[in-house]
Subunit: 235 residues, 2 copies
């Protein structure tokens, strides 16, 4: 019998995942980095044979790794044409952010109305304080982005809705590069910090309506900033 009964265990701590990643999962994780970091350009084709040789496995696991990437929306698989890195249009990016806005709203409502919110607040305060410190510094902003991503992971896990966690995780991976784009200016980062601070207040107060509204607004702001940048890039 474990030290802590299952009933008291927080959902995000459930050790349901297998201890060791499968071969396709390891390959997918590596490829995922390459795509998110931009080493593999959008639209680029990824061929099974090349993946197989790169990782010194047969085409089976390579093939399956690509299917895993498809599940995360990082590649698109066309019949008889193989996989290519997704290159979403501005409209599709807009669409994904809209979905994230709704589901982040649900997530933060669940947290604000949930019984575990008190345990969460110290970590939240710490990260949001860190955001406030790095928001004004003009540097590359990677610190800021990293903290935002960690904060989001923390909240997504804490919401306790497993399916929501899966979907939001997938959508987050797909939009990392656009989130980064949208948080590239100090003004936007300061707007973002103010929003996080409001959210913290709403969670402290246990105000689910406010938490949902604030979360939605944050993602919508992020969406608008990203889309604006993309339009500027595209002409």
């Amino acid at each position: 019998m474990p030290a802590h009964p299952a009933a008291e265990m927080h959902p995000s701590l459930r050790p349901s995942a297998p201890l060791t990643q499968s071969l396709p999962e390891q390959i997918a994780a590596r490829l995922s980095e390459c795509i998110v970091s931009g080493a593999y350009a959008p639209g680029q084709r990824i061929m099974e044979q090349a993946v197989a040789e790169e990782f010194e496995v047969s085409r089976g696991p390579a093939r399956e790794a690509l299917r895993l990437l498809e599940k995360d929306g990082l590649v698109m698989i066309l019949p008889r044409r193989g996989a290519q890195v997704t290159n979403p249009s501005i409209e599709e990016v807009h669409e994904i952010f809209d979905i994230r806005a709704m589901l982040n709203g649900l997530r933060d409502r669940l947290i604000a109305e949930g019984p575990h919110r008190a345990e969460l607040i110290p970590a939240l305060e710490r990260d949001i304080e860190k955001l406030a410190q790095t928001a004004a510094t003009p540097g590359p902003g990677d610190d800021y982005i990293d903290t935002v991503l960690r904060l989001n992971r923390l909240l997504t896990q804490a919401a306790g809705n497993h399916r929501l966690q899966t979907i939001l995780g997938s959508l987050a991976v797909q939009t990392v590069r656009y989130t980064r784009l949208g948080l590239s200016t100090p003004q936007r980062r300061q707007q973002s910090v103010r929003n996080w601070q409001s959210l913290l207040q709403a969670i402290r107060a246990g105000d689910g309506d406010a938490a949902e509204r604030i979360a939605r607004q944050r993602v919508i702001d992020s969406r608008d900033a990203a889309v604006e940048h993309l339009r500027a890039q595209a002409g």
Copy 2:
């Protein structure tokens, strides 16, 4: 050149899907029916070899078909243990309905605020009228459910958010059996009809806020009814 220029074509009519389904897709479609209809019981294991023999293919396509079912949440694949039909707990059903509530809210807002809503209204009126007629009849209610499902498909396609369509489609498949459960009484069906009629009004008026609120309430009602039935069944 096609008869109608692409710019005027409704998003839901884009012929982007390949004309012919792949072998794994065909197998997955058949298995999907078996699971949704209940021929394969929740928790039941589905083995690759058995699928391969059933459809007279090798284990490769059978394996991939099971991965496709996993993507739709119809089976759960555990490492070295294979696939088994998902048997979500009451809490998980609750979770999925919560997600559907948010995303249906987004969907119906997009429709109410979208430019294509006028074209949609006649079909909506027809289906909702049909709902009103079959709501009070005590029969098996399959007509009612079928109409609700068609109505939802219509709206999901019309919203014009492709990713949303994918996610909602997957979630709908996973909850069909619980939706059916929740709409098994005449009272619930009448409540449902009133909600659809309100939605129609909101769409007519182009009131996105109202459309979202109404859609959410509909799914929440559906959730509560389903969960109540499940709790009664479980003891």
